[in-house]
C-alpha cells in the first residue's frame, strides 16, 4: 500500500457469550484489514464468517455482550489535518482478559463505562465521516417517516444545511443521482410504498448525502430480486466512478465483489484468510491462492467455459465438511478439516499451529502453511 490507509483494523476481536453453553461465540477473532483512500475493498465469506459483525464493530453498533473486547480501528477520515484516530481508543481500560494457552477464556468488561466513552468518540464519525448501508433496505428505513425526510435528516445533521427547503433540494439531488425514478414523487412516499430496490437506492442516497469519507455497504444486494441486484451493482459501479468514495463492501456474492472491488479479503471462521488485489484473488487458477478461496471459486455455478473446473457427473463441486463452529474454534488452521490441499507432510503443522497472515506477493497476504511467505504477524 503506497498511500497511508484511510481505515486500518488491527487484531479486532468481538465476542458474544452463550449462557446456556457457558462459552464464547468468537464472531470476530483477530481480524486485520486496511483500505487505501479511494479503494473499494470487498470482504467475502460465508454466513457466520464474521464479516458483518466486523463492519458493525467499526461503528460501535454491535448489540450483544461482551461485544468488542480488543483491537484498534484507525480512521484517517474527516478533516485529515490531524492524523488517524483510533475509534476504539482506551478499550483496554474497560476490558480485562484472561488467557490460557494463548486463548482467551475469560472477559471482564465495564459495558456502561465503555458505551459512554465510545459513543462520544463515534458521535463525530457516524453518518458524517463513515456512512453505512444495510441489507433488507425495507426494514432498515423508518416506516413512519417519508423517504425524503429521512434523506433530508442526513443532510441537516451532517452538511451544515439548516433550512428545510434547501435540505429537500439536496435530498432530491441525491435521489436523482441514485437514478430513482420520479424523485419528487418518491420523496413524499413511505418506505412501505417503495420496492426493495428503490428502498436500497434511497438508503444509498441517504448515506452519500452526508458526503462521507468511507462508505460501508453490508450485503447491499442480499434480499433483493436477482434482476434488481444487478441494477444496484451497476449503480454502485457508476457511483464509484463518479464520486470515488472509499468503500468497504461486505458480501457473500463473489460476482458482486468481482464487479466492484479493487482489493478482496476472504474471511473464514471469524478471521481473514486471504487479502490481496481482486484480479489475483478472484481469478481461478492464479497462484498463489488460499485453498479456501480456490474451493469457493470452484463451487460457483457458471454458464461460461473459461477454464473453470467443471462439474463432475453433473454435480457442482462442494467444499466437504461443515462450517467451523465459532463457539468451538479448532486449534491450528481453522480450515484444515475441510482443506483438500492438505498433505501428510504438513498435516501436523496445520492441526497444531495457526498460520500467521503472511505476505506472499506484493500487496497480497495469506494465512496458510502451504504459502508461508514472509510472516509479519497479524
Amino acid at each position: 500500500m503506497t498511500r497511508p490507509p484511510l481505515l486500518e483494523i488491527q487484531d479486532l476481536r468481538t465476542y458474544f457469550y452463550s449462557r446456556a453453553k457457558e462459552a464464547f461465540i468468537r464472531s470476530v477473532d483477530g481480524v486485520s484489514l486496511a483500505i487505501a483512500p479511494g479503494e473499494t475493498l470487498g470482504v467475502v465469506g460465508e454466513s457466520g464468517s464474521g464479516k458483518s459483525v466486523t463492519a458493525l464493530s467499526i461503528l460501535g453498533l454491535v448489540g450483544g455482550n461482551p461485544g468488542v473486547i480488543t483491537g484498534a480501528v484507525h480512521f484517517a477520515g474527516g478533516n485529515g489535518a490531524s492524523g488517524p484516530r483510533n475509534l476504539l481508543a482506551d478499550l483496554e481500560r474497560y476490558v480485562s482478559l484472561t488467557k490460557h494457552d494463548g486463548r482467551i477464556v475469560a472477559v471482564a468488561k465495564d459495558e456502561p463505562g465503555w458505551r459512554a466513552h465510545v459513543e462520544r468518540a463515534l458521535a463525530r464519525v457516524r453518518g458524517k465521516q463513515i456512512a453505512m448501508i444495510f441489507q433488507n433496505p425495507k426494514s432498515s428505513l423508518n416506516p413512519f417517516v417519508t423517504v425524503g425526510q429521512q434523506i433530508s435528516e442526513a443532510v441537516r445533521l451532517h452538511t451544515g444545511v439548516t433550512h428545510a427547503s434547501e435540505a429537500k433540494e439536496r435530498a432530491l439531488g441525491w435521489l436523482e443521482r441514485v437514478r430513482m425514478d420520479s424523485p419528487r414523487l418518491r420523496f413524499d412516499q413511505y418506505p412501505d410504498g417503495l420496492s426493495g430496490g428503490m428502498c436500497q437506492r434511497a438508503m444509498i442516497a441517504m448515506a452519500l448525502a452526508s458526503e462521507p469519507s468511507l462508505l460501508i455497504a453490508d450485503e447491499p444486494t442480499t434480499g433483493l430480486d436477482a434482476t434488481i441486484q444487478s441494477r444496484i451493482v451497476a449503480l454502485l459501479a457508476e457511483l464509484k466512478s463518479e464520486f470515488g468514495v472509499t468503500t468497504l463492501l461486505i458480501t457473500h456474492d463473489i460476482r458482486v465483489v468481482s464487479r466492484l472491488a479493487d482489493t478482496v479479503a476472504v474471511m473464514y471462521g471469524a478471521t481473514v484468510m486471504e487479502h490481496g488485489p481482486a484480479r489475483d484473488v478472484l481469478a481461478p487458477g492464479v497462484e498463489p491462492k488460499h485453498p479456501y478461496t480456490s474451493a469457493l471459486l470452484a463451487s460457483l455455478p457458471s454458464t461460461q467455459t473459461n477454464g473453470r473446473r467443471h462439474a463432475v457427473d453433473g454435480r457442482l463441486p462442494v467444499i466437504r465438511g461443515e462450517v467451523v463452529d465459532t463457539m468451538n474454534v479448532p486449534r491450528g488452521c481453522r480450515f484444515h478439516a475441510r482443506c483438500d490441499r492438505i498433505t501428510d507432510a504438513i498435516r501436523a503443522r496445520c492441526m497444531g499451529e495457526e498460520p500467521a497472515l503472511a505476505t506472499v506477493a506484493a500487496g497480497h497476504r495469506m494465512r496458510c502453511h502451504l504459502h508461508p511467505g514472509e510472516a509479519r504477524g497479524g
Binding site: 465476542y15 458474544f16 457469550y17 449462557r19 446456556a20 453453553k21 457457558e22 462459552a23 464464547f24 448489540g63 450483544g64 455482550n65 461482551p66 484472561t98 477464556v105 475469560a106 472477559v107 471482564a108 468488561k109 465495564d110 459495558e111 463452529d325 463457539m327 468451538n328
Partner: protein, 243 residues
C-alpha cells in the same frame, strides 16, 4: 463490571444448561414465591371446602374482640371475635373457582382484555408468518395447522398464555374482592377478603388496624404471587433474548 468465563472442556460435548440452572436468582425467587402462593391457595381452597379449619369462621369469641394474633387465634380476631385465619381460608372459596373459570374461558377464547389478547396473538401470528423459519418448516413439509399449533402457539405463545393465565387469576381476585368490598359480592356473614376489609374499616380509624390489614395483606401477597409467577415463568421461557 460484567464477567464472562468459558468453562473448560470441549464445547461441542457440552449439553445446554437447563433453563432453570441458567436462570437468575431473582427469577428463581420469584417463581418460587409464586408457586408457594399458588400451592397455599390451592391447599386452602381444599381445606375450606372440606371444612378443616383451625376454628369455626362464624364462631364469635366475645371475650376477645379485635384481638391481635395470640393464643387460640393465630391471626387474631375481627370485630365480632371471629377467628381471622379461618375466615381468610374460607374467603378463598369466593374467588377460586370463578377465577379458574374466567382464566380457562379467556385462554380458550382470548376474551379477557379481549381485543387486546386476541389482537396480540393475531399480531404475533402475522409477524411470525414472515419469519423465515416458518418458510423453512413449510418447505420441510409440515402442514400449516401443525406449524401454527406447534411453532407459533406453543413455542412462541406459551409464555404469553402463561402470563395471561396468571394475570387473569390476579384480575379475578381483584374483581371479586372489590365487588365484595362494595357489598355486591359475597355478603356477611360469609367471609370474603373484600368484605373482611370493609368490616374492619371503622375500627381502623380507632387504631385497630389488624382486622382490615390482615385480609388486605392476604390480597396483596396473593396477587403478587400470581404476578411474580407469571413474570418469572415468562422470563424463563423466553427464547434467548440477550438481556
Amino acid at each position: 463490571m460484567r464477567r464472562y468465563r468459558e468453562s473448560t472442556g470441549e464445547v461441542a460435548e457440552r449439553s445446554e444448561r437447563s433453563r432453570w440452572r441458567a436462570a437468575t436468582l431473582t427469577d428463581r425467587a420469584a417463581i418460587g414465591y409464586g408457586l408457594l402462593v399458588v400451592g397455599l391457595v390451592a391447599v386452602s381452597y381444599v381445606l375450606g371446602a372440606v371444612g378443616w379449619l383451625p376454628d369455626d369462621p362464624s364462631r364469635m369469641d366475645m371475650a376477645r374482640l379485635n384481638a391481635p394474633p395470640g393464643a387460640g387465634h393465630l391471626l387474631g380476631t375481627d370485630f365480632l371475635g371471629r377467628d381471622i385465619l379461618s375466615r381468610l381460608i374460607v374467603g378463598i372459596q369466593a374467588y377460586f373457582l370463578p377465577g379458574l373459570l374466567a382464566v380457562a374461558i379467556s385462554l380458550a377464547l382470548g376474551i379477557t382484555g379481549a381485543p387486546a389478547i386476541a389482537s396480540i396473538i393475531a399480531g404475533k401470528i402475522q409477524f411470525l408468518r414472515q419469519k423465515s423459519f416458518i418458510e423453512a418448516a413449510h418447505v420441510l413439509g409440515l402442514p400449516t395447522r401443525v406449524i401454527v399449533a406447534k411453532h407459533i402457539l406453543w413455542y412462541n405463545c406459551a409464555p404469553l398464555l402463561i402470563i395471561q393465565a396468571t394475570l387473569g387469576m390476579g384480575e379475578a381476585i381483584l374483581v371479586e374482592t372489590s365487588l365484595s368490598y362494595l357489598g355486591f359480592g359475597v355478603q356477611e356473614p360469609t367471609a370474603s377478603w373484600g368484605n373482611m376489609v370493609q368490616a374492619g374499616a371503622n375500627y381502623f380509624f380507632h387504631g385497630k388496624f389488624w382486622p382490615s390489614t390482615a385480609p388486605a395483606l392476604a390480597i396483596l401477597g396473593t396477587i403478587l404471587g400470581f404476578h411474580l409467577l407469571g413474570d418469572g415463568l415468562n422470563r424463563l421461557l423466553e427464547p434467548k433474548s440477550a438481556s
